[in-house]
Amino acid sequence: MKRSSSISLLISVMIISGYDLCAKDSTTYGKTPAEYMPYGRFFEPYRRFFLEPLEYTGYGRNIPEPENITSVKIGFIGPIIRTISETTGGITNDIPLKVNQRTMRWDGYRASHEGALGIKMLQGAMLAIEKANSAGGYREKIPYHLVVKNDNGEWRSSGKAVVDLAYKDMVWAIVGTIDGANSHIAIRVALKIEIPIMNTADTDPTFVETNIPWVIRGITDDRQMCYLLADFAFKKMKLKKVAAFRVNNRYGRMSIDEFRDAATRLGFPFIAELNYEDGDIDYTSQLERIKNLDADGVITYGNARESALILNQMREMGMDQWFLGSDRMVTQEFLDIVGDTPGNIVAGYPYDPTRDDPVFDQFRNDFRERFGEYPETYASHGYDGVSMVIKAIEKAGLNRALIRDELVAMTSYHGVTGIKEYDTVFSDRSPAYLAILEDGKFEFYSFEEMLKIKHPSDG
């Protein structure tokens, strides 16, 4: 979709739109619109956090560079092994783990339900490494090497992975991971060890709200996507009775949080918030409840498959409300499952994959040539993340603290996912997009373009 970048047009749209646009000054964290501020209508908080850039005040910058290295290693943590069988080399059943009083099920490897996403992220990372090496490697002398660790989900192995990458593999920075809990675990270890982590896939708003100065997030998060979804749902589409139906895990719980708060602060709190287990296929009982509540919108947060199955069952039950969701449902898998007439569907999205951008076009072609398919969001953001790390290493040299300094100094970066802006906690605050399903494909709208979408009540 073509867009105008005219500032004057944008200002005109803002003036005539009648919408409350965000108070985006230096006293505002996360580009939070005034109306979505916590307690904003009632009280000025005693203290606001995250308004100043995080500092690292340790000794790390004084550590000398090593000599005689044969490769420059970058760590990668992601859910790339899908099943227990692959991980354990053939054992297909849950493994009973005896801890005296009770037997635990070794169910952690289950969590590679995100394997499809992790593999894409890995492909993007690999392509960035290969591109850097084709240009001569580190300072045109030493090849880069990606050290890959599997993220075994609920087994919470990401912390151990960071330990091994930092102390045994001696990587200079780490990229990963996707799952919110495992990403949190990884950054806590990284803080202790003092090694930079670039995350390109965890959109949980709280991920960067921990004051850890070693974390950079290279993807627009659910805070931005939820604000835009809320603007669209409540201001543009004038919905009033939205029900939430989300996956019962940390992703579903945390990522929908800002939409829930925005809805409440606009005066339209959820009329229900129900959940399902990952892997469920029958959602009838929950949807019956929502149907009986006469919701005019349903928002879901979960993976593409479950989101699509929920939508199909809604439509089969005669529920034709707006269906809102997360970026994880903006996939071909979702489109394949929902078929030709899925009704009104909108999702948040962290970038515009349809824009005209030679940088992105080149990447798409390179990726297709390397992997035989076009890149999706996890591959694209993974590529950008590793590319930023390499750029930082080239400038800083082989010192983790200095690499961290160079990464956080990149307050703007033109990657394949667009021109990214980073805030005081080193999180990508580039504008989110709306992905609206139109004629069997997702079309992408910026905030300004969303304002111009015609609503039925507009006449």
């Binding site: 916590p38 005296n100 009083q101 919470r156 806590r188 709280t206 004051n211």
Partner: protein, 387 residues
């Protein structure tokens, strides 16, 4: 590493001693006055790998455990004992299961030393032998262990996937995570046990309190439930990103990356850089010395709340990157009353931990260890002798 010369050293000690018998009025704020004199550690010894000729085997100090005579030091490169001026160390070469020691506790009942090892479980060091417990051979919930504490026959381990408790007599493990404890998140970071209570700092989950007698958990979280603000100063825990808990005299001290909280069982008090002697809100560890005094390790120095009632602090830090010595700032609230030079020369004031051996104070930093002499130490405030 640079050390100040002997002349400067004598001068610093002299100034510190003078402060013990009286204080200068010259720097005092016109509006805020000291209610009495706090003890100020002015006489320090600094230790690094270089200055000890390798006896301190690693400069990155993660944890300290001390009593009257011994100091156990957990480093990024192994375990170290400092006793009677002598050093002894253990690495993987002489049996230590993993070199990165993130927590230490000594059982008062058995004398055994328990070690938390970052990424490799826990170990018992007893009679010269290390016994290794990890998530594959025990009830340890995760190999990433940040802290350990002993309580009776039990050893508590704060892991990144929850809390494990090992009964050293029965050999049984209890495990606590989101399934059987009030944990919004399970990422446990620090544990302290005393007087029938166990407190766990859960990173992202606030503070958990375990009552040993009733075996019931209770949780303390940030009442405003928002990450980006603190709504009221004293409404409860400042933030749910907690890093340590210290329980003494029936008072809980809880540190976060957003400030310090104190809870006496009835009232909360919050402390931040803007309203206290804290040089930074980023707190690695808080150690209560009493119900009215707490030692706070921050990324910009050590803050000591000397006297809760009068809000009197002494904060030790390097005032600028070019300063060779640390300066003690005597403060009431966030008003500096006076500054006193010390002879502490560690090159970086990223303080990770603190501990006591008798009256002496130890701090572990990102690059080195130091001991402040507690000769003539007094608790709280002494009556001002010079008016």
């Amino acid at each position: 590493m640079k050390f100040i010369n002997m002349g400067t050293f004598i001068m610093v000690v002299l100034i510190g001693s003078l402060f013990s018998i009286g204080r200068s009025q010259e720097n005092q704020s016109s509006n805020v006055k000291l209610a009495g004199d706090p003890y100020v550690y002015t006489e320090w010894e600094s230790f690094t790998v270089e200055s000890t000729h390798g006896a301190l085997i690693n400069d990155h100090i993660f944890c300290l455990e001390g009593d009257e005579n011994q100091l156990w030091i957990g480093t990024e490169g192994g375990l170290v004992l400092y006793e009677d001026g002598k050093w002894k160390s253990w690495t993987e070469e002489n049996g230590l299961p993993w070199r990165v020691i993130s927590g230490i506790t000594k059982s008062p009942k058995t004398g055994d030393l328990w070690l938390a090892m970052l990424g490799y479980g826990i170990a018992r060091f007893s009679a010269g032998r290390f016994d290794h417990f990890d998530q594959m051979n025990s009830g340890l919930l995760n190999d990433v262990v940040y802290g350990v504490a002993t309580e009776g026959d039990n050893v508590w381990a704060a892991t990144t996937a929850g809390i494990s408790c090992f009964n050293t007599v029965t050999g049984l493990w209890d495990i606590y995570d989101e399934k059987n404890a009030p944990m919004e998140e399970v990422w446990s970071y620090n544990v302290d046990a005393r007087d029938g209570k166990v407190y766990v700092a859960v990173w992202g989950g606030g503070i958990l309190e375990w009552d040993v007698a009733t075996r019931i958990w209770k949780d303390y979280v940030d009442p405003d439930r928002e990450m980006e603000i603190d709504l009221y100063r004293d409404d409860g825990l400042i933030h749910i990103i907690t890093t340590s808990a210290s329980y003494i005299d029936h008072v809980l001290w809880a540190s976060t990356y957003f400030g310090l909280s104190r809870y006496d069982g009835r009232n909360w008090r919050g402390y931040m850089e803007i309203d206290s002697g804290l040089p930074s809100d980023f707190i690695n560890l808080a150690v209560g010395r009493s119900g009215t005094s707490c030692y706070v390790s921050t990324d910009k120095g050590l803050a000591v709340l000397v006297d809760y009632d009068t809000d009197t602090w002494v904060t030790y830090k390097r005032d600028s990157e070019s300063d060779e010595i640390w300066t003690a700032h005597v403060m009431v609230g966030n008003n500096t009353i006076m500054t006193i030079p010390t002879n502490l020369t560690l090159p970086n004031h990223f303080v990770i931990c603190s501990e006591f051996t008798g009256n002496d104070l130890w701090i572990g930093t990102g690059h080195g260890l130091a001991r402040g002499s507690g000769r003539g130490y007094w608790d709280g405030l002494q009556k001002t002798q010079v008016k």
